[in-house]
């Protein structure tokens, strides 16, 4: 049996114990954006508030595969407390990184490394990030 490289302990940990995952509506957040992947039915809603241009708090909710949920969870940890401009750069770099480009990403996102070798799962990783990007565009960040 293969050791299923994709499913590293950190990824599974975020899937089983997702950080900043809301149970109910994200009504307390200033900006809420929904992302969906029609091809697999995954749906993630990302909500965040901005104070003095700092993103905090940031939450998500929804359903998805382990990669999708783990990525959303890791994203909230990486983005919390970041200046909006920086978050925007991180999201862009994340997109580049998942496409295989040689860019730096925060160490806490590195457990997603294995997904770069699975083209079919890249959308799962980026679902929450795309919702974040759209949310930031909506709030003119």
């Amino acid at each position: 049996m293969s050791d299923s490289q994709l499913y590293k302990a950190q990824l599974l940990d975020h899937f089983k114990k997702p950080r900043n995952k809301a149970v109910g509506e994200l009504t307390t957040m200033q900006v809420v954006k929904r992302g969906s992947n029609p091809s697999c039915g995954d749906e993630i809603e990302v909500g965040f508030s901005l104070k003095d241009n700092i993103i905090e708090p940031i939450q998500f909710r929804g359903r998805g595969c382990s990669v999708c949920i783990a990525s959303a969870s890791m994203m909230t940890e990486a983005i919390t407390g970041q200046p909006a401009e920086h978050a925007k750069i991180m999201a862009a770099q994340m997109q580049q990184w998942i496409e295989g480009e040689d860019v730096n990403i925060p160490p806490m996102l590195k457990p997603l490394e294995a997904v770069r070798h699975h083209p079919a799962r890249k959308k799962c990783v980026m679902l929450a990030w795309h919702a974040l990007i759209e949310g930031m565009e909506q709030s003119n960040v």
Binding site: M1, L6, Y7, L12, C40, D42, S66, R121, C124
Partner: protein
């Protein structure tokens, strides 16, 4: 043409299929380190290809390649003859009365679009209904939805009973004067359920309602005889029955041939290209439906695949895949977290679909893939059905003639491992 002979001992004229011997006829299971030990259980998506089919296609390119229907030299004449022989092979395969009804297309999808656009759309009226079923593949759903919306007609859907079967009696107006067309699958690519298409054709014929049958999933394990079925149109592709991608079949019943307008226009399908389309004279069927240079290599491979299927026998194939599907189904029914969407009464198509309470189908498929078990996860191009089932994706294990009990065990072991990873 040099065709590699099939080993005598794998054929099923006496006794059941021996999958190990059949597997040896498929190079992918021996030549490639990546696939040598693969449990390929994604056969409803596409089947693997036997050596004989590849050899026939290789010969077509190496030895016989030249234009079809377009040359006056011996090689071109030979190519044309071989192309038409391939058509005749398909004609025999489906029991069609004449060769004009046997049309090579790019795929089953392409075939359906030809009928939706070239047959139904020009005659469809706003007050009419077009019936499809809840279990259709997008290929047999979207083309009809499109022509209905263009013409103002209604797309009606035959829903399923709790057992997953067509709930025909719920709709008294299916076989009514208001029905312009019925299009349905013979076998669901998700549920594995087979419909009584013969009975539906019989009832439709009493009201002169044309019927299209999507046999893409059924053809490997069901002998198709279009005359016995009494269908107006029937489609399937080569790639799900051990043939190549990029070629499909469209059968048009003789009495409907003049009722279908060609949709693809171009070379090889016109006798007289006038100054206006109104004065243009199309070629006779089947050529008027085969615009452009025909897919000669594909047609040769398609015919060879028919030969291969016939050499095994569809009834024997059905018995084999049904038996393995039953073994798998019984094993899976012991998992409390698994929900089987296939029915125990409909396993002869070799399809078992299910979903897991906790583990997303994509995760399951990925872990099983890493363990050397190729399965399909997703909506299987049947989103209307998945919505009906209330799930976004299922895992589908689909069995073919080269699968063995070892493959079933590998699938179950991989499933156990996935549960361990996510426990």
């Amino acid at each position: 043409m040099s065709v590699m002979p099939l080993p005598n001992n794998h054929t099923s004229t006496d006794g059941p299929i021996n999958p190990e011997l059949v597997k040896a006829l498929f190079p992918i299971f021996s030549n490639n380190p990546l696939t040598r030990n693969l449990s390929y259980l994604d056969n409803a998506a596409t089947s693997q290809k036997p050596e004989v089919v590849m050899q026939a296609m290789d010969d077509a390119m190496r030895l016989f390649h030249s234009p079809v229907n377009r040359g006056f030299y011996p090689l071109a004449e030979q190519t044309t003859t071989r192309y038409e022989q391939a058509r005749e092979r398909l004609q025999r395969f489906i029991g069609a009365a004449n060769h004009a009804s046997v049309i090579f297309t790019a795929s089953a999808t392409d075939s359906i679009n030809q009928i939706a656009q070239g047959f139904l759309l020009p005659r469809l009226k706003p007050e009419q209904n077009v019936w499809v079923t809840r279990m259709e593949h997008h290929a047999n759903y979207l083309p009809w939805q499109d022509v209905c919306e263009k013409s103002g007609a209604s797309l009606r859907i035959i829903e399923l009973t709790d057992a997953g079967e067509l709930d025909l009696e719920r709709y008294p107006d299916i076989f009514a004067d208001s029905t312009a067309m019925i299009a349905l699958t013979q076998t669901s690519n998700v549920l594995g359920i087979s419909n009584d298409v013969k009975d539906i054709c019989r009832r439709a014929k009493q009201k002169n309602i044309p019927v299209l049958i999507d046999a893409a999933q059924a053809v490997v394990s069901n002998t198709i005889n279009v005359r016995e079925l009494g269908c107006d149109f029937l489609v399937f592709s080569a790639h799900k029955m051990f043939g190549p991608n990029g070629i499909g079949l469209l059968y048009i019943a003789p009495e409907q041939l003049n009722e279908v307008q060609p949709v693809r226009l171009g070379g090889g399908m016109v006798d007289f290209a006038a100054d206006s389309i109104a004065d243009t004279i199309w070629s006779e069927a089947p050529h008027c439906f085969e615009a452009g240079s025909p897919n000669f290599v594909g047609a040769i491979g398609f015919a060879s695949a028919c030969e291969f299927v016939d050499s095994l026998g569809q009834a024997k194939i059905k018995a084999h895949i049904g038996e393995l599907a039953t073994t798998l189904y019984q094993a899976l029914s012991h998992y409390p977290n698994l929900h089987l969407v296939s029915s125990a009464e409909h396993l002869s198509s070799g399809i078992v679909s299910f979903y897991h309470d906790v583990i997303h189908a994509h995760d399951l498929a990925q872990i099983m893939g890493d363990a050397g078990v190729a399965v399909r996860a997703g909506h299987h191009c049947a989103q209307p059905l998945l919505r009906h089932l209330g799930v976004s994706s299922t895992l589908r294990i689909s069995i073919s003639v080269y699968n063995t009990n070892d493959d079933i065990n590998a699938a179950v072991n991989a499933l156990n491992y996935a549960q361990k990873v996510f426990s």
